[in-house]
């Protein structure tokens, strides 16, 4: 191959090579420009719905009704924000979301860490059975009705447990954590157990302090999933005082609640609802948008960790 290049140069084809090079780079330049435009378009299309919702949330009904609101607020209006922020149900539901997220994430972390640590031990007897039991649930589950019947008969309806327990272990997260523990140098644990630490001691004093990155990633995965979840609450909670904010929003979208006291000006209920929905969406999204830029790299590294070993 080196010979080829050498003969090409020797053959006095320097000019030809140059022209060919320029041709390639012109095609390349066109491709790069196209690529850039395409990716910028992706960015715009991804961000647009968010900007649109924000614009709608600050617009007055008349302009929304006329279909004139897209990127920028029309007829600037903050009344709806005041209205929602003054709604005690909204705050109560927001508080519930925080509570459920914290409790559910804590439960999930305890169960997932314990499980992952044990099945990461390659010489644990019965290991493959335990892994199999977990993985099988990824591909086959009881289904909606048996789950509903079970939760109801356990008396968990209308309690926090119906929201925080049923999805406590994500097998996907479990496998990521397991492969992280497996990749830890064995010598560390061996040294610690020679020093007289029990398996508990090894886990709490040696392994966990070295696993801060993966633990942080897992906490984020679970916390986001819990913050966003709505279906468990939708199925099992009847008492509005227990609703998370996602149900508050869902009921608004489904038109179950006409947003409390907003009915004062009832001329254009649908469009007023659009404005109120936008405000609620913005208020629900804000915490995630604020945290997102700082934590997204952990999500990426988490997935990378999980994909290193299938």
């Amino acid at each position: 191959m080196v010979n080829k290049t050498a003969t090409a140069i020797k053959g006095g084809a320097a000019q030809g090579v140059l022209i060919k090079d320029m041709k390639v780079s012109r095609a390349m330049r066109i491709f790069r420009a196209f690529n850039l435009v395409f990716l910028l378009l992706v960015v715009f299309l991804t961000v647009y719905p968010f900007l649109n919702i924000i614009a709608q949330s600050f617009s007055s009904e008349g302009f929304i009704n006329a279909g004139q609101v897209n990127l920028f607020p029309m007829g600037f209006n903050t009344e709806t924000y005041k209205l929602i922020l003054a709604d005690s149900t909204f705050w109560n539901n927001y508080g519930n979301t925080v509570l459920y997220t914290v409790v559910a994430t804590a439960i999930s972390m305890v169960l997932t860490t314990a499980f992952a640590y044990a099945i990461a031990k390659k010489d644990l007897k019965g290991r493959s059975v335990f892994i199999g039991l977990a993985v099988f649930t990824m591909f086959f589950n009881g289904g909606l009705i048996p789950n509903y019947v079970l939760i109801s008969s356990l008396g968990m309806r209308d309690s926090i447990w119906a929201v925080v327990l049923p999805n406590a272990i994500s097998v996907f997260n479990l496998l990521i954590m397991k492969s992280f523990f497996e990749n830890m140098p064995r010598e560390l644990e061996e040294a610690a157990s020679i020093d007289g630490l029990t398996q508990y001691g090894v886990l709490f004093r040696v392994v966990l302090p070295l696993s801060k990155a993966i633990v942080a990633t897992m906490v984020l995965f679970y916390a986001v999933a819990n913050w966003n979840s709505w279906f468990q609450a939708f199925l099992y909670l009847d008492n509005p005082d227990l609703f998370p904010v996602t149900i508050y929003l869902r009921n608004m979208i489904a038109g179950v609640t006409t947003a409390g006291s907003a009915g004062g000006t009832a001329e254009n209920v649908g469009q007023i609802a659009a404005n109120i929905q936008s405000v609620t969406i913005v208020l629900t999204v804000i915490p995630i948008l604020c945290v997102y830029p700082f934590v997204q790299k952990y999500f990426f590294s988490g997935v990378m960790l999980g994909s290193v070993k299938e």
Partner: protein, 326 residues
């Protein structure tokens, strides 16, 4: 020689974990395992209890598909009724309507949503500016972190009579369409929003795979005179093929479960003709009309098809491509 003789007794005597290979050969090892690792088994107790109650008990609960179920009674039903509920749904035209919709949406999802992340990852990979790449990635992952309720709200607003899509339709064609209610528009609405939601985050595993492609392969290809496109075709794609196949199998596994929560939030009786899928149908039959056994029969049918799909996809890919999940 002396050294070699030294090794086996040491391994047998060593009480530390990590030399367990030797132990596994011993008979009666459950007793030994419990003695040595009882702390690990205590760690397993709660997670296994969780799996048993919240995952395996509902699986067993599927027997109510063959039994009379009394709300408030046993979760396994009261008495056997045989295939009553199975024949019931097999003769139910609404079920077959939902079945057909599920297949169509599933196929459309595979055709449109599966390749997009691959294309997106390849295009990102061509970027020379790492900063810009990071920026595009950060933005594109965003929809993945939104609650499906928020996504549903955005879909309904963007496709509403006064929403952006109709604003564009109005200015281009001078007409507006009732996207959210017209059955003919449900599929485009669903699929386009699905692409919007999944394209960015779906690319993440491909990007991870792309970072592990051996740079010397590209060099060799360049020396052989391969242009950029040929390099992509002959080096990049084969390198990420195992990832593509793995994700394809997983996607086929969730084929039957097409976006249940999202559809539940954005559909309405006016577009049931195209929007009602098996999972939403059984939700209405089971939980809104309280026909638990009937809905459980449908749900079991759905789960079994899902499991069959993933097992066969896995077997086929194992034979044809040498890649499989297990």
């Amino acid at each position: 020689m002396a050294l070699r003789l030294d090794v086996p007794p040491k391994a047998v005597a060593g009480p530390e974990p990590g030399t367990g290979k030797k132990r596994r050969d011993k008979p009666g090892s459950w007793k030994l395992a419990l003695k040595r690792d009882w702390r690990l088994y205590t760690l397993l107790a709660l997670p296994l209890l969780y799996l048993l109650i919240f995952r395996y008990l509902p699986m067993a609960g599927n027997v109510i598909a063959f039994r009379q179920f009394q709300p408030g009674g046993s979760i396994f039903g009261e008495k056997w009724v045989g295939f009553k509920y199975i024949t019931l749904f097999i003769n139910d035209p609404s079920f077959w309507q939902a079945f057909q919709n599920t297949i169509i949406l599933g196929v459309l999802t595979l055709v449109f949503c599966f390749p997009m992340p691959i294309i997106f990852a390849l295009m990102l990979n061509e970027l020379r500016s790492q900063k810009f790449k990071k920026f595009v990635q950060t933005v594109a992952y965003l929809p993945h972190f939104m609650s499906v309720v928020i996504i549903a709200g955005m879909i309904l607003q963007n496709f509403s009579m006064t929403g952006t899509v109709n604003q564009i339709a109005e200015s281009l064609f001078g007409t507006t369409v009732n996207f959210t209610q017209d059955p003919g528009w449900f599929r485009p609405m669903y699929i386009s929003s699905e692409v919007w939601q999944t394209m960015g985050w779906g690319a993440i595993l491909y990007l991870a795979a792309l970072t592990r492609v051996d740079e010397s392969l590209y060099e060799a290809a360049r020396i052989d005179g391969a242009n950029r496109w040929q390099q992509t075709w002959h080096v990049t794609l084969p390198a990420i093929r195992p990832t593509i196949i793995t994700l394809l199998i997983l996607n086929i596994g969730t084929f039957m479960a097409v976006g249940f929560e999202k559809i539940l939030l954005i559909y309405n009786p006016l577009n049931y003709a195209t929007s009602d899928v098996i999972s939403t149908y059984l939700y209405r039959v089971g939980l809104e009309s309280s026909n638990f056994s009937y809905a459980a029969a449908i749900g079991m049918f759905e789960s079994v098809i899902g499991l069959t799909l993933i097992l066969s996809a896995n077997a086929i890919s194992k034979r044809l491509a040498g890649t499989s999940l297990w």
